[in-house]
Symmetry: C2
Subunit: 208 residues, 2 copies
DNA sequence: CCCATGTGATACCGATAGGTATCATCAGGT
DNA sequence: ACCTGATGATACCTATCGGTATCACATGGG
């Protein structure tokens, strides 16, 4: 078996398509889209360019597929957080914030893949852009829904505030230390919800 | 065809270095850094690649110089807002938010150049990265200073909240309409300041 | 008048990228 | 045993990009 050395046995029986997506995940996330060539992805996936083009057609399509998977993971987190706190929209929103906060160390210094991808793909006709836009729209819709359920007086405004803070926290991972970013994010999110709820029932329990 | 046709007379006597920086500003901001070649910048500036390399040495240096100028504009806005409301840190912070809010339509759908540039330059050794980091550090320092002056109990926390919201608002210009983003940003910033000031004077005037 | 400088123009180089064609190989099903 | 489809390997094409070398010209100072 002369050629056996090049075979990456770590993922052994994983089909090439999955290996390619895994490699793309790692490389796109850590180094960006345009900096990573198809050849590099193929090597990391233990396969060849041809296999990638056979499965995805173009690099753009691979990028879109990758973002589709990332978006699905975010939506799964949404589902989870919703299921974990049924009928408690405030806890759901904070759970979402916690999901982002806990993910900050993992994306350390590389920020949110959606934000980064948009920056790298200014061409709005790129297939990946549709994926991002749909994901963002979906996320906004769900967040506004939660805010509405929570009885917030201006769900759109509160959802915007939460969204801004979530995105801003992710962006801030680019700069300096991220030591307290997660904690800060949680406190800020709680503060926003408390404040936007305040005009409602006047005296609510401030304990926390 | 004499050579006179190719001469861009619109900016006439502006020296080539300035024309290049103007062209870079337009192209980098609207299309990103990596998508824009040196050749394209030269053409838009009405000059040639050689002139660019004579003045800046490398494309990376040009990118850094461009961001240095953008950073200077932001800091000038900081200065302005500080001078407009001397001794009134709360108004200064809100003035800063207003500066961002009013700039949103201009950066419509292209977000903040710093955020985008970081996404496009994952290599932290890139000369432009130093410019960005210094700018962000400077901005944070000033914002924390304002929060401290304002007598806020936890200036770091409040500065982080303001920063997150400011960055988040700029990121959100990528998606959908930006109709109310400016107004929303202002209301959110005001809310944060009010709320973080609240623990101080107990009974605060809720009037708008 | 002449020379130095800054600039425009063009051609080119090496590297890399996305994408394709071709052939060898290996697995599974009949 | 054979055929088929998916995969691996390699070589190649074309385009673009950052960067350089070279030449032409225009200007302004001595």
């Amino acid at each position: 078996m002369a050629a056996s050395a090049g075979r990456p046995s770590r993922v052994a029986t994983l089909p090439p398509r999955e290996r390619v997506l895994d490699a793309a995940e790692e490389l796109f996330r850590s180094e960006g889209i345009r900096r990573v060539g198809v050849q590099a992805i193929a090597e990391r996936a233990g396969t060849t360019k041809m296999a990638i083009y056979r499965h995805f057609g173009t690099k753009d399509a691979l990028v879109a597929e990758w973002l589709r998977i990332v978006a699905a993971e975010y939506q799964a987190a949404f589902d989870r957080v919703e299921a974990d706190h049924p009928g408690r929209p405030r806890e759901q929103i904070l759970g979402l914030a916690r999901f982002i906060a806990e993910g900050l160390p993992a994306i350390s210094h590389r920020g949110c893949p959606f934000i980064n991808s948009i920056a790298e793909l200014p061409d709005s006709s790129h297939p990946a852009r549709r994926v991002i836009e749909e994901h963002k729209a979906h996320q906004t819709r769900r967040l506004v829904g939660m805010c509405t359920e929570a009885g917030l007086p201006d769900p759109g405004q509160t959802a915007a505030a939460i969204t801004f803070v979530l995105e801003g926290a992710q962006v801030s991972t680019h700069n300096g230390s991220i030591d307290h970013v997660g904690d800060r994010l949680m406190r800020i999110a709680e503060g926003i919800l408390d404040q936007h709820l305040a005009p409602l029932g006047a005296s609510r329990a401030p304990a926390g």
